[in-house]
């Protein structure tokens, strides 16, 4: 399954899109993609299938965003906390990641056509080496595209991101690159993984949970919890 589905929108989808586009639009939307396992249980399929279908829905959502002119999307794909899940599930998710990042590399033409810049945010050294390499290739291959931006949070938690940023600032002062008076809220913004992106205007969480679950705690302004 491709990252950006090429199929045309249906008449209803186009109609709704036109209505939505008539009003103010967010420039950056963040998604917490939750509920894959519950969905799998509901449909009586394997968890892995739930995750796979979750990815398909992501691809469809990216297509909608592209069509609506939302230029930046950030998704919470895998939390550092998720490493605590069973080995079977984590291995399954890593395999899914291998599959999808490899597929991404095959879709260079498509990414070039839409000008999609891929960024992957998180504590990447925690990931298997081969996945780190795939990610590096995807990020390098698309780094000069700038029509739209997809940020995938993988091996990510917001607390890790914030603490990492604070450590960077401390290092800067230690090294004499910064004065203590340079340390500020806006400098912290610049040290976060998301420093190249504006803050999300809207955060959407699927599945009905009403928590941020350690996602973009510093950056998120407006959130919307979609009820089941």
């Amino acid at each position: 399954m491709s990252w950006i589905r090429e199929s045309e929108l249906t008449i209803i989808e186009r109609f709704c899109a036109n209505i939505i586009k008539a009003g103010p639009m967010p420039k950056h939307v963040a998604f917490i993609m939750d509920g894959n396992r519950r969905y799998a249980q509901k449909c009586h399929v394997e968890r892995q299938q739930g995750h796979s279908q979750g990815f398909d829905k992501l691809a469809q959502t990216l297509r909608w965003c592209l069509n609506l002119g939302i230029r930046e999307v950030t998704v919470y794909a895998f939390s550092i906390e998720n490493f605590k899940r069973s080995k079977e599930e984590v291995d399954g998710l890593m395999d899914l990641a291998r599959q999808k990042f490899s597929r991404l590399l095959e879709e260079q033409e498509n990414l070039k056509k839409h000008g999609v810049c891929i960024r992957v945010l998180g504590d990447l050294p925690l990931l298997p080496l081969d996945i780190q390499e795939l990610i590096a290739q995807a990020v390098l291959a698309t780094k000069n595209y700038n029509k739209c931006f997809l940020n995938v949070c993988f091996a990510y938690t917001s607390r890790h991101e914030i603490s990492n940023a604070v450590r960077e600032m401390a290092w800067g002062v230690e090294q004499g690159l910064l004065e203590p008076s340079d340390v500020s809220e806006s400098l912290l913004d610049k040290c976060l993984y998301t420093n190249n992106s504006p803050d999300p205007d809207l955060l959407i969480r699927t599945s009905g949970e009403v928590r941020l679950s350690d996602f973009l705690l510093w950056q998120v302004k407006i959130f919307c919890f979609l009820l089941e």
Binding site: R167, P180, L188, D214, L217, K221
Partner: protein, 184 residues
Amino acid sequence: RQRWRSDGRALQKLPVHMGLVVTEEEPSYADMASLVVWCMAVGISYVSVYDHNGIFKRNNARLMDEILKQQQELLGLDCSKYTMEFANQEKADQALKFELWHKALTPKILHPSLEMCMLGKTAALLLVKGLQCDDSVGREDVNFLEIPSFSTNGFPDPDLVLKFGPVDSTLGFLPWHIRLTEIM
């Protein structure tokens, strides 16, 4: 009043720390006071009150008066059973200190204190100072929860935040601590 207590007992789970976040431009002291009194009656131990303009903080005496008044009105004869400890954080240079008022039992009320800039700047400065003083402390070793501005002085992370007003945002309320907080 008795109903409040039994309501509290009837719940399977009670939040230990409840956050009350107001996004209205002109928050209502009476409404906030009655909410705080309800929290007390139902058995919630820690309550945080926050509005992003800092109105409650600046006028905390007025809020406290209103709370005491409502405590008497709503809890009546029972009101002496419920006492309150008020924790007020003051920004003082790069250290945070608390003033305790009405020293008594729980619930503790934390006023809007950890604004984002304070959180970020103070934490970073303290970390930097700490590192400058002690070369043996590696950057990786620092436990963020020990940094005063990250610590809410004994308050656990909020379990639940009730948000009031038109804005779908917590507007900078304890960004570090609401990692797992349910927001309604």
